[in-house]
């Protein structure tokens, strides 16, 4: 296990280093930030000074080395626009995005698992078939459009839920959170549900497939033959064995949920990292874009690693295979 873990860690580091290279080189081909940052009234000397101050007159490999050096020391450059440390800007905004993404995944589980269980237990029932058809629509829905329609219906027409911002927040561990106040929860509901739409369909289908696979197996028959109540069989034996693939997929999905929050945050004016990155792309604020991509890469690689380890721990069959 230790050897495997070390190998896996080395692999993850290689991916991170590769991505820094790709991202850095890729982004430096994009436009010239000087044109945007420097006013037209500046004279040539001021222009050159600004270029020098931002380190843009150095050759690319030197800029990359400076970037790596900074990264090792926990700094990924300063934002051209905000005049602040890029990584601090992002970390400051990241909790809001995390809150949104986790809330979306929670909603997906709370809604998707029971529906998937039902669809898997009674696959021939019309309601189960309707659920499967609905899940195709769920996969097809353009999330940004649904977000607009949600605002239209629940905020404009019915006036039930707020359409923008985080609402009232409460500080916990030095970070403001929306889910700790009622007003914040109301603000959280629509964006989280919007971000969850796709995942609900995914969870529903995964749970159904898992149930269909587990149901005909001997241990379920045996549990029934033992005279366990149907509810106990479903909860203890069927559900438990479908959870492993579900946890794996959801762990990996957290990364993509954070990425897709770009769209949701933009529409619901949720002040997270996704909104920041979109603004930064538009204003060619290179350090922030690079820093955000690096943060996402690290999140992705870490999630992959954690899921792999959890999978090994949860499923004895995989563990045995690895031990051999």
């Amino acid at each position: 296990m230790t050897g495997w873990l070390l190998r896996r860690l080395a692999q993850a580091s290689v991916v991170v280093v590769l991505m820094t290279l790709i991202v850095f080189i890729g982004l430096h081909a994009i436009g010239n930030p000087i044109d945007i940052l420097i006013g037209e009234d500046m004279n040539q000397q001021e222009r050159l000074q600004a270029i020098h101050r931002l380190g843009l007159d150095q050759p690319l490999w030197r800029q990359y080395l400076a970037f790596v050096d900074g990264a090792v020391h926990g700094s990924l450059g300063r934002s051209f626009v905000y005049q602040d440390d890029a990584i601090r800007l992002i970390l400051h905004r990241l909790p809001a995005t995390m809150e949104l993404a986790v809330a979306a995944l929670l909603l997906a589980v709370v809604i998707g698992v029971p529906l998937g269980l039902y669809a898997g237990m009674k696959p021939e029932h019309p309601l189960a078939k309707a659920l499967m058809a609905a899940s195709i629509v769920g996969f097809s829905l353009p999330a940004f459009w649904v977000a607009l329609m949600m605002i239209m219906v629940f905020s404009v027409q019915l006036g039930w839920l707020p359409a923008s911002g985080r609402g009232e927040t409460r500080v916990l561990l030095g970070v403001p959170w929306s889910f700790l106040t009622l007003d914040g929860l109301q603000h959280l509901l629509l964006p989280a549900l919007n971000l969850a739409l796709f995942k609900i369909s995914l969870v529903l289908r995964l749970t159904r497939a898992g149930v269909r696979e587990v149901l005909p197996q001997d241990f379920v028959k045996f549990a029934r033959a033992k005279g366990l109540s149907p509810a106990r069989v479903v909860l203890m034996h069927v559900l438990r064995n479908t959870l492993i693939p579900l946890v794996t997929v959801l762990g990996l999905e957290l990364g993509s949920t954070i990425a897709y929050a770009v769209v949701t945050e933009t529409i619901f004016a949720w002040p997270g990292a996704g909104k920041l990155i979109l603004d930064s792309i538009n204003s060619l604020d290179r350090p922030v874009v690079v820093a955000y991509l690096m943060v996402v890469v690290v999140i992705f690689v870490t999630l992959n690693l954690v899921v792999d380890v959890l999978y090994k721990l949860l499923d004895p069959r995989v563990r045995l295979e690895g031990a051999r």
Binding site: L27, F139, A143, L148, M152, V263, I281, V296
Partner: protein, 312 residues
């Protein structure tokens, strides 16, 4: 009768039967496909959408890209209002610039379908080529190509797309290019996997035994047998590409404002949503949803119909 002639006669018969089967298999696929009523509805919707997009200039009262035909006085009219000058009814209302929404949607469909189909076809050709190459070359080439595919597939499409578009700039061609860069990996992985399975089959060995050139075995024998799963991926990737294009245009990084796609129309309607002028965003979105659902229904049924054949 000697053993040799016996074998060759059987071989000829088998070859004939195979050719016959190849035809009847596709017929059976078609028949199976039509078994599901939902899938038939999807196919019909898809046909309507495609025909409407192709015939756009003949079935719309207005060319939404021609600014001369737009009347700013007719901006933001409710669905069903008659136009002030041109003498037709805005059945779906007008947008902020006085564009007839029905015309704009039909023209927008053109761009959506062009981007979706165009990127899917190009990505399929590129990806299948890479996949077959990886399967054929094996060893280090295979390992390197597949690591690249893994890397591409493990990061979120939307972020990668935003980065690439920020680099290459707006425009229909650039959006297609971006989608191709992001999607070929799906085809590559599937084509490689399928090709590896097929390479071990007896007909490939037989072809090799006859001394047929490797590239001809690859394109003439292995490739046709890799097509069914690629077809399914292709259908679903078209839907994905259309959604992604709409999302990117909505975020302002997709197609330019002069050629509004469905995503951009929805984006334009966003600002009027809060004043209850819902139709500017609603109808383009509905058209988008119908298109994507139709493609997904067709793709889903294709997968169900083609899968058992693959296992046979």
């Amino acid at each position: 009768m000697s053993e040799a002639t016996d074998v060759s006669a059987e071989g000829v018969q088998a070859a004939r039967a195979r050719r016959f089967d190849a035809h009847s298999i596709w017929w059976r696929v078609a028949a199976d496909f039509l078994h599901s009523r939902v899938a038939v509805v999807g196919l019909a919707l898809l046909a309507i959408v495609t025909i409407a997009a192709l015939a756009a200039p003949w079935i719309t009262p207005q060319n939404p890209y021609d600014l001369m035909q737009l009347d700013v006085l007719d901006a933001r009219l409710k669905p069903g209002t008659a136009s002030s000058a041109a003498g037709y009814t805005y059945w779906l209302g007008t947008d902020g610039q006085g564009r007839d929404l029905y015309s704009a949607i039909v023209y927008g469909l053109r761009i959506s379908l062009l981007v979706g189909v165009g990127s899917a076809v190009m990505a399929a050709v590129l990806g299948t080529g890479v996949g077959l190459l990886a399967a054929y070359a094996g060893g280090k080439v295979d390992a390197a190509l597949m690591r690249l595919v893994d890397l591409l597939l493990s990061f979120p499409t939307i972020l990668m797309a935003l980065m690439i578009l920020a680099y290459v700039g707006k425009g229909v061609a650039n959006v297609i290019l971006t989608l191709v860069l992001l999607e070929w990996a799906y085809y590559a992985r599937t084509a490689r996997g399928q090709a590896l399975v097929e390479t071990r089959r007896e007909y490939v060995e037989a072809a090799r035994g006859q001394g047929i050139a490797p590239w001809r075995i690859l394109t003439g024998h292995i490739l046709p047998n890799c097509l069914p799963p690629l077809l399914v991926i292709g259908a679903l990737q078209i839907a994905r590409a259309i959604t992604l294009e709409a999302t990117l245009s909505f975020l302002g990084l997709g197609v330019p404002i002069t050629e509004p796609s469905l995503g951009l129309l929805i984006s334009n309607g966003y600002q009027y949503l809060l004043s209850n002028e819902y139709w500017i965003s609603f109808f383009p979105g509905l058209a988008l949803l119908i298109t994507i659902v139709a493609i997904n229904l067709v793709g889903d049924q294709l997968r169900d119909v083609l899968n058992p054949r693959l296992q046979q």
